[in-house]
C-alpha cells in the first residue's frame, strides 16, 4: 500500500468508485457535449460534404469543453472535508496523487468519447476515408494531452478566486499546439487527403513534454499554500 504505485492505485480506485456511485462527472460531461453537438449543428449544414473537413475540429472542441467540466470537479471534490490538506501532511508522494488523478480523468474522458463518437457519426454523417485505426491513437494521445495539462492547471487554479473560470483561461493557450494536432490529425484521417503521421508524432512529443513538466512541478503546486 505504501509504495508510490500503491498510493496511485488506491486513489484511482477511490475516484472510480466515487464516480461509479455518483456519476456526476460523466453525466454532466455527456449532457454538455450533447448540447455542444446540437448547437454546432445550427451553425452550418451538418450533412454537407464540406462538413467532413471541419468535423475534426468540432469533435475536439466539444470534447475539450466537456473535459473542462470534469476537470473542474476533480480537485474540488478533495477540498471538501480537507482531504487535500490531509494529503499534504501525509508522507505519500505527490506525484502518485497526480498520476492517479490524470489516469482517472483519462478514463472519464475516454468513456465520454466512446459514448459520444457514435452520436457524432450519426448526426454529422461521418465516415473515415483515411486509415481509421489511427483515430484511436490520435484519441488516446490527444485525450492524454488534454487531461495531463487539465489536471495540472486545475490543481493550480484551486488557489485562485473564481477557479472555475481560471481553468480554461490557463489550459486553452497552453493546449493550442495539442489541439491543433488533434484537429488536423482527425481531419486528415476523415478526409483521407493527408497523412496524419506528423501530427501523431507531435502529439506524442507534447504528451512526453507536458507529462514530464507536470510530474516535475506538481509537488510545488500541491504544497503551495
Amino acid at each position: 500500500m505504501s509504495t508510490p504505485a500503491g498510493v496511485t492505485r488506491a486513489t484511482l480506485a477511490k475516484d472510480l468508485r466515487l464516480e461509479w456511485r455518483s456519476k456526476d462527472a460523466i453525466n454532466s460531461m455527456l449532457f454538455f457535449a450533447l448540447l455542444v453537438v446540437v448547437i454546432f449543428s445550427f451553425s452550418f449544414d451538418p450533412t454537407a460534404e464540406e462538413s467532413r473537413r471541419i468535423a475534426g475540429g468540432l469533435v475536439w472542441v466539444a470534447f475539450l469543453f466537456a473535459a473542462v467540466v470534469a476537470l473542474n470537479q476533480t480537485w474540488a471534490r478533495e477540498l471538501r472535508n480537507q482531504v487535500l490538506d490531509a494529503y499534504r501532511v501525509s508522507p505519500a508522494p505527490a506525484n502518485s496523487l497526480f498520476l492517479a488523478k490524470v489516469l482517472g480523468n483519462f478514463i472519464f474522458v475516454s468513456v465520454l468519447e466512446g459514448l459520444m463518437t457514435p452520436l457524432f457519426v450519426v448526426f454529422y454523417n461521418l465516415r473515415a476515408i483515411g486509415p481509421a485505426y489511427q483515430l484511436v491513437v490520435v484519441a488516446a494521445l490527444g485525450t492524454w494531452a488534454l487531461v495531463v495539462n487539465g489536471t495540472f492547471f486545475a490543481a493550480m487554479s484551486l488557489r485562485t478566486r473564481s477557479r472555475e473560470i481560471m481553468l480554461p483561461l490557463l489550459l486553452f493557450p497552453i493546449t493550442i499546439p495539442a489541439l491543433l494536432a488533434m484537429v488536423e490529425a482527425t481531419s486528415s484521417i476523415l478526409t483521407g487527403e493527408f497523412s496524419a503521421k506528423f501530427w501523431i508524432v507531435l502529439l506524442a512529443v507534447y504528451d512526453v513534454v507536458f507529462t514530464t513538466g507536470g510530474l516535475l512541478f506538481f509537488e510545488i503546486v500541491l504544497h503551495a499554500e
Partner: protein
C-alpha cells in the same frame, strides 16, 4: 541608482526622437509599398523587444523557482507586463500595415499565429497573477512561465507544419534590405529597448514599494491587534 533614472530617461527620450526622425525622414521610401512601410520601424523593434522581455521573464522565473528570491519574481512580473504591451503593439501595427499591402488585415501565417499564441500565453500568465491572491502566486506564475516556454517550440512546429500543408500566397519580407533602412531599424530597436528598460525599471521600483507597503500594513494591523488585546 536614483540619479541614474532621470539621466537614462532623457537618453531614452533622445533616442526615441532620433528613431522617429529616422523612421519618418531619414529612411528612404520603399519602392512598392510606399510610406506605409515605415510602420516597419515600429513593428519589428517592438516584436524584438517583446521577445527579449519574455526571455527575461523566463530567466527570472527559473531563478525564482530555484532560489525563491522575491526580486526575481518582481522582475518576472514586470517583464511579462511590459512584454504584453509591446506584443500588443506588434499585433496592432501588423494588421494596419497588412491591410494596404496584403489586402487583408490578418492571415494565419506562422509568425503571426506564433506571436498571437505567445500573447495569449502571457495574458493568461497575467490573469493568473491577478486572480490568485494567496502568497504562493509567484510560485504558480513561475511554473506557468516555464510550461509556457516549453510550449513555444511545440506551437512553432505545429503551425509550421499546418502552414506548409496548406500553403498561402503571402508576400513575405525576404530579399535584401537597404543599409539605411537597416540603420534606422536597429536605431529604433535600441530606442525601444531603452524605453522598455525604462518602463520596467520604474514599474519594478513601484512593485517593490507596493510590496513593502503591503508588508508594513500587515505588520501594523498585527501590532494593533496585539495592542488592543
Amino acid at each position: 541608482m536614483k540619479r541614474a533614472f532621470p539621466i537614462f530617461a532623457i537618453l531614452t527620450a533622445g533616442l526615441l526622437s532620433y528613431g522617429l526622425y529616422g523612421a519618418l525622414v531619414q529612411a528612404p521610401t520603399e519602392q512598392t509599398m510606399g510610406d506605409v512601410q515605415r510602420i516597419f520601424y515600429y513593428h519589428v523593434p517592438s516584436a524584438w523587444t517583446a521577445f527579449c522581455l519574455f526571455f527575461v521573464n523566463l530567466g527570472a522565473s527559473i531563478v525564482y523557482l530555484l532560489r525563491r528570491n522575491p526580486k526575481a519574481d518582481a522582475l518576472a512580473l514586470v517583464c511579462a507586463e511590459v512584454g504584453v504591451v509591446f506584443c500588443t503593439v506588434v499585433l496592432v501595427t501588423g494588421p494596419i500595415w497588412a491591410r494596404p499591402v496584403w489586402g487583408i488585415w490578418w492571415t494565419w501565417d506562422l509568425r503571426l499565429t506564433l506571436t498571437l499564441v505567445l500573447w495569449l500565453i502571457y495574458v493568461s500568465y497575467l490573469m493568473l497573477r491577478r486572480f490568485s491572491s494567496s502568497g504562493q502566486t509567484p510560485v504558480m506564475a513561475a511554473v506557468l512561465a516555464v510550461l509556457g516556454a516549453l510550449d513555444v517550440p511545440l506551437v512553432y512546429f505545429s503551425i509550421w507544419f499546418f502552414r506548409t500543408q496548406h500553403p498561402q500566397p503571402v508576400v513575405g519580407g525576404g530579399g535584401s534590405i537597404d543599409p539605411r533602412m537597416l540603420h534606422v531599424l536597429l536605431m529604433n530597436w535600441l530606442a525601444f529597448s531603452c524605453f522598455a528598460m525604462l518602463v520596467c525599471w520604474s514599474r519594478y521600483r513601484l512593485e517593490i514599494l507596493r510590496r513593502q507597503v503591503e508588508e508594513t500594513q500587515a505588520l501594523e494591523s498585527l501590532l494593533e491587534a496585539g495592542n488592543s488585546r
